[in-house]
Amino acid sequence: MNGNRVTIRLFARLKDIVGTGELSREASSDATAGTVWRTLMNEFAELRDYETSISVAVNEEYARMDAPVADGDEVAFLPPVSGG
């Protein structure tokens, strides 16, 4: 165990599926936003519905799934948006 932890933020239906809008998970030293997402999908199968439609933000900036994540980072997963 390397002690790296990231904060995961979830919104809208993702929050309903997981049961909370914020959780913390361990992340390996070579983790990316995508590995964090796949870890979460393994835990919560219903998230697979969003595999092709999800957006991600790292530390409050839009990012790509291959963006690296480091200890203490906030990784937010965003279902398709519907503001306005």
Binding site: A76, V81, S82, G83
Partner: protein, 171 residues
């Protein structure tokens, strides 16, 4: 509008659970400019209002949720995109929380020396809000509730951006 609890936040970009106030946006796009004594020429506005019907469902209310810091950054991005293309000053306010039918969820104002720019900017901004701002509607209707899911948010998606420019009517 000073006799209710509507926001008087005159910042160009705002996210609030308070009722929105168009006067605040008009102030945001007109005050403090060097040509304030001359005036902008024209101001257009767009007000998005909660509708009582959606996809054949009788809507009772909407609950808006947002990722506030990223939503504000998306507002700033949309503002920069708009200023790159049109000669406008803009304001964009979005409300979160529980909204009843007929209440305003979003307000946009655009001030410009040229009315064509003001109209186009307003239209462009609402299209971009729907494309890239991390805000979600939770619809409560007669018989149930559903999260509304629209566009996969990707600010770098140039096809979406070009769509918004086309809808704005100048290309």
């Amino acid at each position: 509008m000073s006799d209710n609890r509507a926001t008087m936040d005159t910042a160009p970009y705002a996210i609030t659970t308070d009722p929105l106030n168009l006067d605040a946006l008009i102030t945001a796009v007109t005050s403090g400019s060097p040509d304030a004594t001359i005036g902008p020429g024209g101001i257009t506005s767009f007000v998005g209002v909660v509708r009582n019907e959606n996809a054949g469902r009788r809507v009772l209310r909407l609950e808006y949720e947002g990722y506030d810091p990223l939503a504000l950054r998306a507002f700033e991005r949309i503002g920069a995109e708009t200023a790159d293309r049109w000669d406008v000053r803009i304001a964009l306010h979005h409300r979160l929380g529980t909204l009843q039918i007929g209440e305003a969820s979003v307000m946009i104002a655009a001030a410009s020396p040229h009315r064509a720019d003001a109209f186009a900017a307003c239209r462009y901004i609402i299209e971009r809000v729907k494309q890239i701002v991390p805000i979600w509607k939770h619809e409560f209707f007669e018989g149930g509730d559903v999260w509304i899911e629209g566009a996969t948010a990707d600010p770098e998606d140039d096809v979406a951006r070009q769509d918004a420019i086309r809808v704005a009517g100048l290309e």
